[in-house]
Symmetry: C2
Subunit: 418 residues, 2 copies
């Protein structure tokens, strides 16, 4: 199933906003077996939208558009699709009523007349309900080709994809009888993980993204539960021996969600002490709702003075070992535990570049310490590559990896009575 | 000048990486007057790259490709461009030598034989040197159409665009005799700013992006300095009366860079105290090199307990007014000054959603306080819209706006002897 994604809006071609919709859709479609061949972005221009629709129609079987479903005159998706596919758009009284109700409920005002446009839907098409915003989406099928239009607002688009479109494509277009099961692994190269998984002799795919590898397994619906437990027990066995952190899931989840689950399940409260990452780790952890249930807070000690005055790192430690050192990082972790009265802390120092610091260490040098309140800790010295942003994000990810490793080590020791 | 951007690589169409190159190029090209009409992403597939090249060639005058210039077999840009444009690629001994030297210098190893491919350049084309990585770029002109190929690595692509391509397009393709001058305004709607700027009767453009508006002025080279000071003095006059923060610049710079300049020029050291933003503000400020020169650090007090124990907010304050309140935020700002011995502090509390907190206030409610060590402060209560991520980023941006407002207010008072 060859697919084109078309993202529509002059704000994209002018570079005013970064198109993240196509990235989300490509990844999600890839997982269920749809092969995205082209991503085409075009401004709010009728001729050019038609040009792109034609290109997509000639070269692929499934076309998904996002954007251009708003109520204003520059929202041209409905017009262009109607013209290109020769499909009439008709007013749906029930959708109009639902849009009117949403306006009353969420904005406390009557629906502006202009929004009537959003209640027009393709005759004979399938309507995709929009529970988050006003414009519904739709599906049109013609000569073995399928066109889907979704709104451009990421939250609306994602909700409609997850709640309806993903299942529709699986069941009705791909006619799949399979479901996915996910494994997320931190700290193992893709090729190495592949070697292990391939021993299972099952259908799978891997996605590698800077230190994180997702493996996707495809099981037949009627074999799902059995196959899932087989995979889980085989891999738990294989991976537990190696030095990696891994999670299983029925969905493709992000790292902060996994971290939250891990800490909550063990009832561990976390605090941080960040230098070079400057708050990157905290904001990553708190990007997920409910992080407050395990994350108490952190100190961003960006200057040496604040390491001493706020985090109570000894002056001699910094003098003797520099601010970027294992010794300083250990003290930061220890004092973070005390200051926040947490069960566990993560501390990071390092050099994000482009310049180095008084330690004259190489750019990309990073020290990470994860410490339990009983004093046990794991530490790591890393040499990371890339630009400033890349180094900050990689360091934060590695810190999370180390913290989870420590949690699992501790719980293993407890269970085994050590 | 109608332009297509083609980003090449299966990692994009599979959704493994987010294409940010096209966003950077669209914005930068828009500023110098190139009209990007299509952004086309395609995988490493010869037929499909040729399909996209054909579409771009038929519909636009300038084509810029990124990616596919690496040394491996799936890097097909050179082959495809050669075939499509009928241009022969020949080995450049001098580029080969320079690639060999880079390998010795940066990796301490000899150039692998496979990298020879990167020394092939189009006969009669213009070569764009790559000072950051190994693959050079090139420009081919044919029948009034121009094709440019740049590497896909963002840092290489950006450096080559800024150092060479931007000027080349301006001077040789657009034949412009103009230069740009930028104004960045926080906290004023685009339409309102437009009203003021239009009084100047000059050529300009505006870009609005969630609370920040950039205005771009176009002056003839020979009139640049004079026009610039005219614009500066007119707008300084008009905008100083209003309640906004604004900056002038010869380049399109980001907010953290402006903030750094502002604090450094006044010699003010900053600390933060963040609740709902969870470190978002700190990591934003420290995303720019050299932030350490003014940013001392911050506390992320995500839990009520840490507000009390670490930031020393009085228990009664939280009990009487809730954690999300002006009263709590003021105490956080005050105590951050003391803890970090800073000249100024910024504190934020609020509700990022999707749930609310014990205060039962609406999602998007945010309190911000910016305070000088003399005790003077500005505060703001906001109702922000959008999802969790949006609310966190908007709150951080608004906090920066308030802080700079306070700096300017204070320095005005000092100057006027108040």
């Amino acid at each position: 199933m060859r697919c084109s994604i078309i993202t529509i809006g002059t704000e994209i071609t002018k570079g005013f906003i970064l198109d993240s919709n196509s990235n989300f859709l490509s990844k999600q479609l890839g997982i269920i077996g749809v092969d995205v061949r082209f991503i085409l972005s075009v401004g709010d221009n009728k001729k050019e939208i038609l040009d792109v629709l034609k290109f997509a129609y000639e070269n692929t079987d499934l076309i998904i558009t996002t954007g251009g479903l708003g109520p204003t005159a520059d929202d041209l998706t409905r017009d262009c699709v109607s013209e290109f596919f020769g499909v009439e758009f008709v007013l749906s009284e029930s959708i109009l009523e639902s849009i009117k109700q949403k306006f009353r409920k969420y904005t406390n005002m009557e629906m502006p007349e202009i929004n009537v446009r959003q209640a027009y839907v393709p005759k004979g098409g399938i309507i995709i309900e929009n529970s988050v915003g006003s414009a519904p989406g739709y599906i049109i099928r013609k000569e073995n080709k399928t066109l889907v239009s979704l709104p451009g607002v990421p939250q609306e688009m994602k909700t409609m994809f997850n709640d309806f479109l993903k299942g529709y494509i699986s069941d009705h277009i791909l006619k799949r009888d399979k479901r996915e099961f996910f494994l997320k692994v931190l700290g193992m190269p893709e090729s190495k993980l592949d070697e292990i998984i391939s021993q299972l002799g099952m259908e799978y795919n891997t996605i590698a993204d800077y230190g994180v590898v997702d493996a996707i397994f495809y099981f037949r619906n009627d074999e799902f539960d059995e196959a899932k437990s087989k995979v889980k027990s085989f891999l738990t066995d294989k991976l537990s021996d190696s030095d990696v952190v891994f999670f299983f899931s029925d969905d493709l989840e992000d790292i902060p969600s996994f971290v939250k689950k891990e800490f909550l399940s063990k009832g561990i409260k976390l605090s941080t002490a960040e230098s070079m990452t400057g708050g990157y780790l905290s904001q990553m952890l708190t990007s997920v709702p409910g992080a407050t249930e395990y994350f108490l807070g952190g100190v961003v000690s960006y200057s040496d003075a604040s390491k001493i005055s706020v985090l109570k790192v000894k002056e001699e430690t910094i003098k003797n070992y520099f601010a970027t050192s294992l010794e300083t990082t250990i003290e930061m972790a220890k004092n973070s535990l005390e200051i926040f009265q947490s069960d566990m802390s993560i501390a990071i120092t390092g050099i994000a570049g482009p310049g180095t610091d008084s330690s004259k260490k190489e750019i990309g040098t990073v020290y990470i310490v994860a410490m339990m309140k009983n004093g046990k800790y794991l530490s790591k010295e890393l040499k990371l590559f890339g630009n400033r942003e890349k180094i900050r994000s990689s360091a934060s990810l590695k810190a999370v990896e180390l913290a989870i490793k420590l949690i699992r080590l501790e719980s293993k020791n407890e269970n085994s009575g050590v």
